[in-house]
């Protein structure tokens, strides 16, 4: 069974110090520059003043750093922080400035969270449906109630 999630986060181990691409230094400098104590305070305030701490491990991509926030009541959040921009292959290709791009991302997350698809029944069916080859579903078009479904979570971040 594969190990997934925060358990396999590697901090900045993906990058090689002195590789010449600047990625290790960018990640390390950025991590060191963050005021993590202030972040913990903000997170606690945003979650009804429940105390929290940060995970030891974090994950790095080309554009973001993510770290877990662990609350005393068992709630788990992640904080995602935008890394400084880079040129070349790892440059962001969006023209909109970072602040507005983040606003778009938050708005999109809120939209997807609070506006389910047109049909609530469809939403549940599509999240759990099993693929039926075309030859079979054409015949069963009038028998949607008999379509095989299997369980599966549907949770968008």
């Amino acid at each position: 069974m594969a190990i997934v999630g925060a358990e396999v986060w590697l901090n900045n181990s993906n990058y090689e110090q002195g590789a010449g691409d600047g990625l290790y230094e960018r990640a390390t400098n950025f991590f060191d520059a963050i005021n993590w104590d202030t972040l913990i305070t903000l997170a606690s305030k945003a979650h009804a003043d429940v105390s929290c701490h940060l995970s030891e491990k974090y994950s790095l991509g080309n554009f973001n750093l993510v770290r877990q926030i662990i609350f005393a009541d068992g709630t788990l959040w992640i904080v995602r922080l935008r890394l400084p921009g880079l040129d070349g292959v790892f440059a962001a290709h969006e023209t909109l400035d970072t602040t507005r791009a983040m606003q778009v991302e938050v708005a999109t997350l809120n939209y997807l969270r609070y506006f389910p698809s047109v049909s609530a029944r469809l939403s549940r069916l599509m999240s759990r449906s099993e693929y039926i080859p075309r030859s079979r579903y054409r015949r069963s078009l009038d028998m949607t109630s008999t379509l095989v479904i299997s369980s599966g979570p549907r949770t968008f971040s």
């Binding site: 069974m1 594969a2 190990i3 997934v4 999630g5 925060a6 396999v8 877990q68 926030i69 788990l76 959040w77 992640i78 995602r80 070349g88 440059a91 290709h93 969006e94 023209t95 909109l96 507005r100 791009a101 983040m102 606003q103 778009v104 991302e105 938050v106 708005a107 999109t108 997350l109 809120n110 939209y111 997807l112 506006f115 698809s117 047109v118 049909s119 029944r121 469809l122 939403s123 069916l125 599509m126 999240s127 449906s129 099993e130 693929y131 039926i132 080859p133 075309r134 579903y137 078009l141 949607t144 379509l147 599966g152 979570p153 949770t155 968008f156 971040s157």
Partner: protein
């Protein structure tokens, strides 16, 4: 935001080093792709009257400037295509090497508008469906059985023209060949094409299935009618024309060369049909 216990699908596949090109076992892979198709169709059910990215003002959501071009919102597809072409050219001039910029195939974006018009797909008004232009295994969180549990990096979501909505997730290896191209020299490429062709066909069927379900389930057909052609659009000529434009963003001369040939093939094909 809430923590979702999962790993990016592409990363998990690399870590597990399973059967080449599959996400888990054969059945897990098929279920993963079906869930991708479901998500793609589910997003497309949401429509707006303009093209652009989503913005929030209190409890209401509107369409505003699009993240990639920084422009918009756009009232029709022609305005968006024009902005996208300009953006891709500007980016290429700034970042691509001289072998790309000085090659005849740098003309591909300049050919886009006329060819799209020839194929009947340049100017269109709404409604415009939501799509994630960066949709793929690099933005999907899965559990250890490759069931999709989360979608990340949603700044690629926009209300877009139908050709963009009906794209294969080509960043997940589902990439169509250029029109008219028949590979006869590179054995690796021939093997890749041989393996990809049935996957493309199957994914298209999965989208068709999800659309069929949507049409069957919704009592008010007007709410879902706009997606009825989604599956067939995925292999349309206008879809190919768009693929050529988006491939230009990779800044690779051999890719642009291939698409210039593809564009010429489509142009001759359409003109012969007249």
């Amino acid at each position: 935001m809430s923590y979702i216990h999962g790993t990016v699908a592409r990363k998990l596949r690399t870590t597990e080093q399973g059967r080449a090109g599959l996400f888990g076992t054969v059945s897990q892979d098929r279920r993963f792709r079906q869930q991708m198709a479901n998500i793609q169709v589910q997003l497309a059910l949401h429509t707006f009257d303009r093209i652009g990215s989503i913005y929030q003002d209190g409890d209401s959501f509107t369409i505003g400037p699009e993240v990639e071009t920084g422009l918009g919102p756009f009232d029709n597809s022609a305005q968006y295509w024009k902005a996208l072409v300009r953006h891709l050219l500007k980016e290429a001039e700034a970042e691509a090497g001289p072998e790309v910029c000085e090659s005849p195939s740098f003309k591909v974006p300049y050919m886009f508008a006329d060819l799209m018009q020839l194929c009947g797909g340049y100017v269109a008004s709404g409604p415009f469906s939501l799509v994630n232009r960066d949709f793929g295994a690099h933005n999907l969180l899965v559990n250890d059985e490759y069931e999709i549990v989360g979608l990340i990096d949603v700044d690629g979501v926009l209300a877009a023209p139908k050709e963009m909505v009906a794209r294969f997730p080509d960043l997940t290896g589902l990439q169509r060949e250029t029109p008219g191209h028949v590979e006869t020299e590179n054995p690796w490429a021939m093997e890749r094409i041989r393996k990809t062709a049935p996957q493309l066909d199957e994914y298209q069927n999965m989208v068709d299935y999800a659309v069929t379900q949507a049409l069957a389930e919704e009592s008010n057909w007007r709410k879902v009618w706009h997606i009825r052609d989604m599956a067939s659009l995925m292999t349309s000529d206008t879809g190919s024309v768009l693929q050529g434009l988006t491939s230009f963003a990779f800044h690779q001369k051999f890719v642009n060369d291939r698409w210039m040939d593809g564009y010429e093939y489509l142009r001759r094909k359409k003109q012969n049909q007249k």
